[in-house]
Amino acid sequence: MERIPILKMGEFLLVTIQVDMHDRLALTLQDDLTSQIVKHHAKGVLIDISTLEMVDSFIGRMLGSIAGMARLLDAETVVVGMQPSVAITLVELGLSMQGIRTALDVEKGMAALKVAVLGTREDADDGIDL
């Protein structure tokens, strides 16, 4: 079955969505991510959508669900790289993506995850080297 690969990097999981996802593939990603968070005790999830040319309400809802499920599993989610045309369209569509943390690129997203996850710990200085 077709799947979107999930990479593990320290305490974080990385996903780059590079294909125009059909609905089932999006739901599979949602399931895979939640089980990987538990399996690896991941503290953060970074989803790179920079190559996505379109986000409709289904994909938007999927991203929101992932963030919500991850939060319940004690992990933070950051969605990075949204194209400006996608952002404009999403707002006009009526999807504000509330509750989803975003960053402009992977680097800034990683920094945000580190602050969110490690910043609350006493050993924050021992952060992961990437």
Binding site: M21, D23, E53, M54, V55, S57, R61, E92, L93, L95
Partner: protein, 134 residues
């Protein structure tokens, strides 16, 4: 307004939604739509295609390149033989859904288009037409 080219696609599975998006993108690019306009019309098509699949049991999508004396545009007609929509005003309202969606499909597609028409007869089906000018 004249129709210069027309193409029809069948929509039966959720994979077909991706094919509709790709076909719409291709037409929008060929018409010289800017990136934001392309994204808007592709996103609107995705919403309407999914609606038609989830609530109308699938159907056909007609892609038409239209022209008037001043400009050209892309018209998309979604037609199903599903149960129809009893209350169109309610269905157009944001947040209203009879299924599991977010209730943004019809209203969102309308906002992303320059022209929007919907006709529905209970027991016969629904026809939604959107147009985006270049």
């Amino acid at each position: 307004m004249t129709v210069s080219t027309s193409e029809s696609l069948e929509l039966r599975t959720s994979e077909d939604i991706v094919l509709v998006r790709q076909a719409v993108r291709k037409k929008a690019v060929a018409l010289g739509f800017g990136l934001v306009d392309q994204t808007k019309v592709v996103t609107a098509s995705s919403e309407l295609a999914r609606n038609m699949l989830n609530y109308g049991g699938g159907g056909t999508v007609q892609l038409e390149v239209v022209q008037n004396d001043r400009r050209s545009g892309l018209r998309l007609i979604f037609e199903d033989q599903g149960p129809g929509i009893p209350d169109i005003a309610l269905a157009l309202k944001d947040g209203y859904t009879s299924g599991q969606g977010m209730g943004l499909g019809l209203g969102g597609a309308k906002r992303l288009s320059h022209e929007f028409e919907i006709h529905s007869t209970v027991g016969e089906g629904t026809r939604v037409s959107i147009l985006r000018w270049r």
